[in-house]
Symmetry: C2
Subunit: 608 residues, 2 copies
């Protein structure tokens, strides 16, 4: 039944050689990998205004130079990541670039930040999308957490089905959102040009503002930069692209950069010209839309696609997290299971891990993850800075043709990213301090895991010089619970392997039962040695393991191997299991972790 359900939700398994067909063309890749970046237009401009309003509404004209700064940062990031795509065509982004150029620890800091960031992407985006939905349908508001969890599950299933099929479904809302915002911008600008908008709604550029400071402007700039979260996703996901991967990825990246720049500038310009102030109850985009169209069909179209793209932004995490995890797992820094492809060729373990982690975050924060946003942004700018610094080092070291220009691009990018990161630490330390504890910890864990894998590999490797201790004989211990077919079956099996000794062990709870059993055994299996143990505490395991310890000790001296044969009857229907004492399972689990003990389960299948 579980199997049928899995097939229904996930689809039939795909063969390994069908991998090529699961790859993305540019149109789908743009939708899948840029929804995170593009959706941030919905809140990026607002973040700038929220900082500026602490001074006065006159200061709003500063959005224009700040937006120019953000666009320059965007340009630097896009150009830098374009260079990364060609320099590292197998993906990995900030992790690989930092590791190769700045050393392992820098790479691990970048990788660790990004891993956590993708989880935050999912939790934050889904919660924001849910808020958008429940704002439209207020009677759903009490079920915020439930709706968010359902959305995560839905996106998880789409991703487990495989990335191409997901793309087909997910592409529409992204393009509809782009369409909606472009219409909004065109109509808005048209109104301005036609003189339909009063020109006194905003202060002109350069109006002096009392109380403004460089610190505040930098803070506003940093807040606005949160609109750039997600631009690195494409460079991590090159292996998902159709061949030639780097070319297609680079073109997709440029297209995304262009769209992001157009949408961001358009929204900032309209917000400035309309003199819009941030409100708690209504988003900036909603205000622009209702001023431009009134509350008609177009307004709801814009709000609807905005809500959808916020939910889909979470999907970027689903594309990027498993691939980054594979890169880390291949280097043995995280568990190997992240490298295994599932039935539909997606990295299922990464997808499921991401889903569970983000659902836990959503439940823990009761769907109100807004105060995770600064943490999220700072977690993005750390790898940005590291990746660009890594590229700097690479150009200086390799000095390819035109390296001075390339160096300049990355230098500008690195400096701006670093500045944004530092501003986050300086202005929002109370919300981002956890990063300073968390990152060293995760790097430490990465190293521990790698050390463990290396130690295991070392111990498993066959080297010719090592002597193996020969096995001189076998002792088989059969714990018995009564005189039954199950026990008979196990004894017959033991005898067929002709070990040097078979010992049946019976644990008795009182003296009478003990004596009675010994007598019965004598007539039933006189040729098998029976040892009875007395248990005062009604425990089977403790006297049994004590006895086995003694046998093992003697056996080891003679290089004998000890096997514990556990007779187990298998009921016909699995629900019957709850009716039976699971002591054989317990015994097995307990014994397996003891040195040099082989555990054999001899099943006896019931017929009814």
């Amino acid at each position: 039944m579980w199997y049928a359900l899995k097939r229904l939700l996930i689809g039939q398994p795909l063969k390994s050689n069908e991998l090529g067909e699961q790859k993305l063309n540019k149109t789908k890749a743009l939708a899948i990998l840029s929804s995170d970046a593009l959706s941030s237009v919905a809140y990026g401009p607002e973040q700038i205004l929220i900082v500026l309003i602490t001074v006065s509404a006159v200061a709003f004209w500063y959005t224009i130079p700040i937006a120019v700064g953000v666009l320059i940062l965007l340009l630097a990031l896009i150009l830098s990541y374009r260079q990364i795509i060609f320099a590292y065509p197998h993906g990995g982004g900030a992790y690989v670039v930092s590791k190769e150029n700045l050393g392992v620890n820098a790479g691990l800091i970048a990788g660790g930040s990004l891993l956590v960031d993708y989880i935050l992407t999912v939790a934050v985006s889904i919660s924001a999308g849910t808020d958008a939905i429940t704002s439209a349908f207020p009677h759903l508001h009490p079920y915020n957490v439930e709706i968010a969890v359902i959305l995560v599950v839905f996106i998880t299933i789409l991703n487990l089905r495989g990335i191409t099929e997901s793309a087909s479904i997910l592409a529409y809302p992204v393009y509809l959102f782009i369409l909606a915002l472009i219409i909004l911008i065109i109509v808005g600008v048209y109104h301005i040009l036609m003189g339909n908008v009063a020109p006194d709604l905003h202060a002109s550029l350069g109006t002096p503002v009392a109380g403004i400071s460089l610190f505040l402007l930098l803070k506003a700039f940093a807040s606005g930069s949160s609109a750039l979260t997600g631009v690195e996703a494409i460079s991590n996901a090159i292996p998902n692209f159709k061949d030639p991967g780097p070319n297609n990825a680079s073109k997709t990246l440029m297209a995304m950069g262009l769209l992001l720049a157009i949408l961001f500038s358009g929204i900032v310009y309209l917000a400035y010209y309309y003199g819009i102030a941030p409100k708690a109850q209504e988003t900036v985009v909603s205000q622009i839309a209702s001023q431009t169209f009134g509350r008609n069909v177009m307004y709801y179209f814009i709000q609807g696609t905005t809500a959808m793209i916020l939910v889909l932004a979470a999907n970027t995490g689903y594309s990027a997290f498993p691939l980054l995890a594979v890169n880390l797992a291949k280097d043995k820094f995280i568990a190997r299971m992240f490298t295994i492809r599932g039935d539909r060729l997606g990295y299922s373990n990464g997808i499921i891990f991401l889903a569970v982690a983000s659902i836990l975050l959503i439940i823990a924060f009761k769907g109100k993850t807004e105060h995770l946003i600064p943490l999220y942004a700072v977690g993005v700018f750390i790898p940005f800075t590291l990746a660009q610094t890594g590229m700097l080092v690479k150009w200086i070291r390799e000095k390819p043709k035109g390296w001075v220009l390339k160096l300049t691009v990355n230098l500008v990018g690195a400096l701006i990213s670093f500045t944004v990161m530092m501003i986050f630490f300086l202005t929002k330390f109370g919300q981002v301090w956890a990063v300073l504890i968390f990152l060293p910890l995760i790097v430490f864990i990465f190293h521990r895991i790698k050390k463990h894998y290396e130690a295991v590999g070392e111990q498993l490797r066959i080297t010719t010089c090592e002597p193996t201790i020969p096995i001189e004989g076998n002792i088989m211990i059969v714990p018995v619970a009564g005189i039954t077919h199950v026990v008979e079956n196990s004894l017959n099996y033991a005898k067929s392997l002709s070990p040097d000794q078979i010992i049946a062990v019976y644990v008795a709870f009182d003296r009478d039962a003990e004596k009675q059993f010994e007598e019965k055994w004598q007539t039933w299996q006189p040729d098998v040695r029976l040892v009875t143990l007395h248990s005062q505490y009604r425990s089977i395991i403790h006297p049994l393991t004590k006895f086995i310890d003694t046998v093992e000790h003697k056996a080891n001296e003679a290089n004998f191997r000890v096997t514990v044969l556990i007779p187990q009857f298998i009921p016909k229907k699995s629900w019957h299991n709850i009716l039976h004492n699971q002591s054989s399972l317990l015994i097995r689990a307990f014994l397996l972790y003891r040195r040099n003990l082989v555990v054999t389960t001899v099943p006896y299948h019931l017929k009814k």
Copy 2:
């Protein structure tokens, strides 16, 4: 760590022969086994008034004849259960009596009702007690469910520690409650005798009441009878008493009956004389107490002990449920695990099952389990009726000395119980219909379980006439994942048992790896046959089981036994396990349920 925590909470394990010391003397037994019955005085009289007020306050004088009816029912129940205690000194109460005299199905109906009822006892009493606490401390009100769950866990731990130690702690509140109510009644009656209470607060007995009907009076009587839930607990728990069990139990029962009668009549009389009407915000007991003492220290003493005894009433369930479960399990109607005594000699599985079930009920009903009360009451009167009918049959069948008197006692009891039960069904069908579905279902499940146990016993029993198929030889299959010490270790073990054939199986995901592995194997273990399987779907289990099926089929024809040897390396620290593919566990679980296949795990312990 888990072990240390368990020792701290539960205490050191006790030896089986320390059982006697865990038994109850009469004083402790009265506290432990009667808190349920006694605590119902806190709400029983109120239930009568709630029905009568639907007519008018003048009708309140009917509480007196109704209370007399309840007292007669109480007397009948006490006398009847006293007879049951001596007739069935090993406990089991309604279940055993019904089963022996009315047949298995009647017994199962009684047993099933009681099992569920004890769960309801815990859920309802704890919730009511929590309400009492949070009424006193209103700022705790939002944490009702959490407090209730903590109380259940607390009582569970006390019971897992063992019943004597629990008794020491639980006895005080019960006796304090009795003391508090007796002081209340004495002072109240003293005030009345001294003429301090206006005599016109109540209508005199016999005042004509418009709109009163027999149906309504019966309904009020049935509601008042809910004060009698819990009187059967003592007869189920005779094995917990110090020797001589039946004598001690009988004396405890009589003492409880007397106390219950005094407290019930006292509260009803004071409520009548003071002319108290039921209020949503204040209980009847609280109204009497504040009229008698004012809101002074005595008032809070009464309210406090009432709250405590309500919580402790839940403990009756903890004493009765595991013992009833043992009786049912001994007859094979429920899982055998309920008969196992834990470290502290309590029936831990029953205790834990009860705790989990009642916590689930509390959470599902968000701590508001009031509408479970009618269900709870009807579930008590079904076994009451069955037990007394059973006793009737017994007297008629056995005709001992003085049987006519005994018969009369049980006849009266049976008739009243039956009437109360029918009134519940007639007047509160909307709340109790579930019983009519649930009881047949549970009886069906009981029979299914018994049938299964009997079928298993049948199949396991050794009968001389049965021929066993001799094992002619052994084939060992070793799934291998690489050329490592783990595999080497398993192969050496297999060789030491000299089976007829050893087959190593390798599952390859692509053709290159397959070929490479075959070559390496040839130089490493040329004497062990290697079979390589190709998996297109990246699954190890499917090709492996397909191959094993083929081998098994051939082996069965020759009466060969197939053993699958699973090489497994055991990391030094258990957290390392999450870093390794758990395929060996999966393979084992999957194979064990296949016919005639022995599964052996050969551990290879890592040293670092």
